[in-house]
Structure formats: C-alpha cells, structure tokens
Symmetry: C2
C-alpha cells in the first residue's frame, strides 16, 4: 500500500511526493526499503510485490522499484483514494488470481522496520494461523504512546499468535500507561497476513458493498503490462472505509501476532528525531547543518544550509523552498502550518 | 563610505553583497536611501556624492545609483579594505580638488536615518563650527546600549554644538545606564562634517603616515570617467586605522553635534526586529511568512516560505540558500555561525 498522501512531514513530504518516496534515515526510500525487506529468506518464498498507489505516482513507483531491481507482479493505480478496505479487497483478489494458494501480506510502504529478519520470522510463525484467520501484527509497546490504536490479546493460538480480544481507539495518556503496565496490549501497526479466500469471505460477510464495488472497479480496469488502471467511476463509487473498521473489528477471525521488530510509523518530525542517530548533544541532523550550543533538536536541510545557535527541543526542516520551525512537542501542528501557508499563497494571488 | 563587508546580517548580507546593497525596512537599498537623504533641502546645497567602495562592488554601486537617478561626483574603488582613516584622507582630498571651499560630510552607506529632515537640519546647524573643527554627530541615546562607543559633551560652542570632552569605548551595561542617567553622553555614529583642509592638517599632525600613503594611492590612481581606481600596491601599504583612533581621539578640534534623527546602525537581526513594524504579537515579518502562536520574533524569508508555530523571541532568516535560527538575545553570534558553516563547507570538499 503506497497510497499515503501524508503531509505530516511537510515540507519534505508533499502530496506530489509523499513520505514513502523519500529516504528517512536510510539511503533508500521507504518504498524501496519495504520492497527489499520482503525478500526470500528464512524459508519464506515471497512472490514479487503488488503495489497499490495513486495514479499520479506511477512514474515515481516504477523508477524507484527499478532502481533496486524489484520487478512487481502488478502496479494497481487508484484514480482517487478510497481507504484501506477497498485496497484489501483488490489485493486479495489479485493474489488469488495470480498466486493461487498463496497468503497475502498487506502492508503500508511508509513504515520503518529496523529488524527485517525479526519481521520475516514473525510472518513465518503466523503463516499457519493465517490460513484460517486474518492475522494482524501487534507491536509490543515500549512507551505509553497515544498516537496509535491498541489491540488486546485474547486466547492463545499457535506459535505466539493470539485471538484478538478487542481493538481500542487511540487512548489518552493515562490509559496508554495502563495498557503498558498491564501488558497484553500491542500497537495496531496496520499490517495484515491472510488467505485471500478468508479476506474475501469476511468482507463479503461484513461489507459486501465495499467488496462488490472494489472488485467491479478491478474487473473493469484497463491493463498495460503490469499496470492496472482501476476504473475511475466504479472505484469512485466504492465506500471509503478502513480495513480495521470494515473487517477486523467485525470478524470473529481476527488474530494478533505480537512482535518487536523495530517498527515505526513516522507520523511526525518528533518521531523521526526519536529514531536518531544522535550527536553528543541529542541532536539529529541531516544535510548541511551547523549547530552551536543546541540540544535535542531535529535539524534537516535539503538543498540548503541550516545554521542554528542556542536552541533546544526544536524542529527545523528546510526542504523544497520552505522552512518550518517549531518545538518538537508541537510536531502535530505541521498540518495546520501547511494549511496556513496554502491560504497565504491563495491570498497572495488576486 | 560603502565599503562595509558586514556579515552580521548573514545570510542576507554576504561579502559579495553586504547590507548597504539590500533594502532593510524600505523599498530602496541602504545605499540608495543614504544618497537620497542628502538632497538639496532646507537651504543646504549638496554636491553629487563621492562613493568609496570595494572594487568588487562597482557594478552594484553604479546600477543602484542609476536606478534612483543619482549621478556621483566620483566612485573611488578600494582594491582592498584599509579602514576609515585612509578613506577620510582620500575623501578630503577629492572634495578639496572637486569642490573648493565646500565642507565634506563623511558617512557610512549602511545606516538608517528615519528622520532625514532632522538630519539635514543638524548638518546645517553644525556647518559654521565645521569650518574650523571636525564635527561628529552624536546620537542622543534612548536606552543603555552596550554596542556603541559614547561621546561625552564638553564646552558648548555655537548652535547646540559642543567640544568633545572624551570618546569612550563600548561600555558594560551598568556604565551605559550611568551615561544615560547622567546625560551629556551621545552615541558615536561615525558621521563627520569638516573642511577638507582641517581634516588634512589634523591627519598630517597625528598620522602623517596614513595621510601620505593614502594620498599617494590616490595620486597614482587610474581614472575612467567618474571611476577612480586606487593604486593597489600603494593603498596596500596604507596603515589600516579608524578615523576615530587616528584623528578624532587625538585632535583638539573634535566637536560633537548631538541630535535625534532616528538613527540606527543595524548590526544584528535583533536590531532589525526592534525597528518593526510589528504585528499584533510583536513579530516582524518580511516575505512569505506564516506564524501561529508566535511572539516577539523576527521572521525573514527571501525566495522561500517560512512557517513557524509555538516560538517566541526567535530569529529565523532564510536567504540565498541558507537558514539561520537563533534566539534574538544571541544575534551577536551570527558571525560565529557563518564561520562554522564555512568550515563545514571546506571540510565537505576533500
């Protein structure tokens, strides 16, 4: 799933080039890292990936994959965004058609996984369960994070996989701390392993409207080599819902595979800071940066120089003609900044 | 005097284009403002100006003057910088040669004077004294500034002009406060009015070495229209000293004309902030800037967008491919930042 249009990392990430197409703390882009971490290893035989992305990103996806010698099974182009339930339906159908008998691993292209071997290992452990259930991967929490939903483990199944007791909303801090203290709660990473037949059956049971609409857009798609152009009008009619709400919270077949794989969904500059690496004063710097008497800050310069003195816990990012400056603690307000700048630019043009 | 190579306002001001060639809080550049404030007014008849600047800035000076229809008497090019005593000697000689009987007004091209009419009025008041003495203009202080030297007034002469009792070094804060409380102390603005014969005689009395070397560089200059190319080797041999130390602190003929003319020597970003204009939260912004929940900050964007949230008393300047971020209170450290960035760039290139 390479459909994110995230602007939480603006001005680096933009609608034209969202974060999955950037290198964040790695020489390769997040899309490339995601592809490369799913290579044949530890007895798993991964088929070439199916990429689902926005129509506007076809060239970017094709050239980034080619640069690391990944030849995709298919590149499915969304004429507009319809959330993850529609994507899951289409992915299940394509895997069923192209790789009969295989499991489907559905995962975002913009997550960090620092330990890919551990990730492949837990996929292997969950495979047997995923023949009959829809497995979601639960990240064992190391802090009372309020930015993610949690999954409570239920009855133990095989090989360290559990039935899901319940999915929770993003909790307030006190509740997140309670989950951490109590144990048995994992972060919902939005990564799924399933037999396509099970996913299609469960979606048909719980959201037949989404299933029917999404698969009709796939049936009516035009194809050119590996590229599948979903039918615009039929896909536009597909209800926009997340796979979590449409299927996972409704099905009796949800399972969770808890794991510690160095996972991160970098949803803010402060989270990128947290990943390091740190200099002696707790700063994370990228690009041409000169910092004096500066602590615990994230300083990121693209095609520009940043020079700072006497600040702490600050985010400074200069990229693509824009500079943002804000306290790390207010990283969530980048979206509001972008909205403000857009309004400013509209006002400038009579 | 347009020879400043100030980098205290980096990254806007650079050696290639120092601050006198930029517009700061005005639609015109500081050089243009300096030229235009000396137009015939209030009974004063200003001759066309003599510009003294670095050789590398000839084109910039010529085109900026032409843009505001100022035709200079001369443009004197320094092959290298030799401080203000040499400049005063050369200026005195050129005025004596080109405008016999006229007074010379020697002033930097990078000062702000918000009330040019009051400035012209004090020049008029000081003219009689300047036939026999070297008049320096003293800015009546409105705060205990530690960044300037002070001049203590002595015996009263004509028309609100005083003998100079003494020049002081830049004072510590307590002493600056004492000067302010006591009265009779003015800031040394480095602006001088004198009869060329008096200046040449006093320099001959106190620093004949500077006088002789500077005038030999002028005598040996090559000329092309109004442009005077000082002789490189002779000018290089001229001792580098300020007019204050070489003449003003030594002569018995120093006089001070106190005035309040809205003068500012913008030597830091915090001083530029102080000049306003302020938005409702005490911010000064230039260029495309979007600020949320931000107070008392200076935000300056050239050819870029700046977006900030949740900061106060901060300087953010983005210009010419560099961004600086620092507390206003540390504006004096811009030079150190620039030195650090230069070192970084050298280190980057093997």
């Amino acid at each position: 799933m390479s459909g994110g249009a995230g602007t939480r990392l603006w001005p680096l990430s933009t609608e034209a080039k969202p974060k999955q197409f950037h290198a964040l703390g790695s020489a390769l882009t997040m899309l490339q890292e995601t592809g490369l971490r799913l290579c044949d290893d530890a007895g798993l035989a991964f088929a070439p990936p199916v990429i689902i992305c926005s129509m506007r990103h076809l060239d970017e996806v094709a050239s980034q994959l080619q640069a690391v010698s990944i030849i995709p099974s298919a590149i499915v182009l969304e004429p507009l965004a319809r959330n993850t339930a529609a994507v899951a339906a289409i992915a299940a159908q394509i895997v069923a058609d192209q790789f009969p008998g295989a499991l489907a691993l559905l995962l975002p292209a913009d997550h960090v996984i620092q330990n890919p071997a551990a990730f492949r290992a837990v996929i292997g452990r969950a495979a047997a369960t995923a023949r009959k259930r829809i497995v979601t991967f639960g990240i064992e929490p190391d802090r009372p994070e309020t930015g993610f939903g949690y999954i409570q483990r239920g009855e133990a199944l095989d090989d360290g996989v559990f039935k899901v007791s319940r999915f929770t909303e993003k909790p307030p801090l006190a509740l997140a701390q309670h989950y951490l203290d109590e144990g048995g709660y994992d972060w919902n990473a939005g990564i799924f392993l399933f037999a396509p037949t099970v996913m299609l059956a469960e979606m048909n049971a719980h959201r037949p409207d989404i299933l029917k609409a999404a698969l009709s857009a796939l049936s009516a798609a035009s194809r050119e080599g590996v590229v599948i152009y979903l039918d615009h009008d039929l896909f536009a009619k597909t209800p926009s819902e997340s796979i979590d709400v449409a299927v996972m919270e409704a099905t009796a077949l949800a399972a969770v595979a808890p794991c510690s794989v160095g996972w991160a969904d970098i949803g803010s500059w402060s989270e990128l800071w947290r990943m390091g690496p740190f200099d002696g004063a707790g700063n994370v710097t990228r690009g041409e940066v000169f910092a004096m008497d500066t602590r615990d800050s994230y300083l990121h310069a693209d095609d520009m120089t940043i020079a700072v003195v006497g600040v702490s816990d600050l985010v400074v990012v200069a990229s693509q003609g824009a500079v943002i400056v804000l306290p790390k603690s207010r990283s969530q307000e980048v979206k509001a900044l972008l909205a403000g700048v857009k309004a400013l630019r509209v006002a400038d043009k009579p």
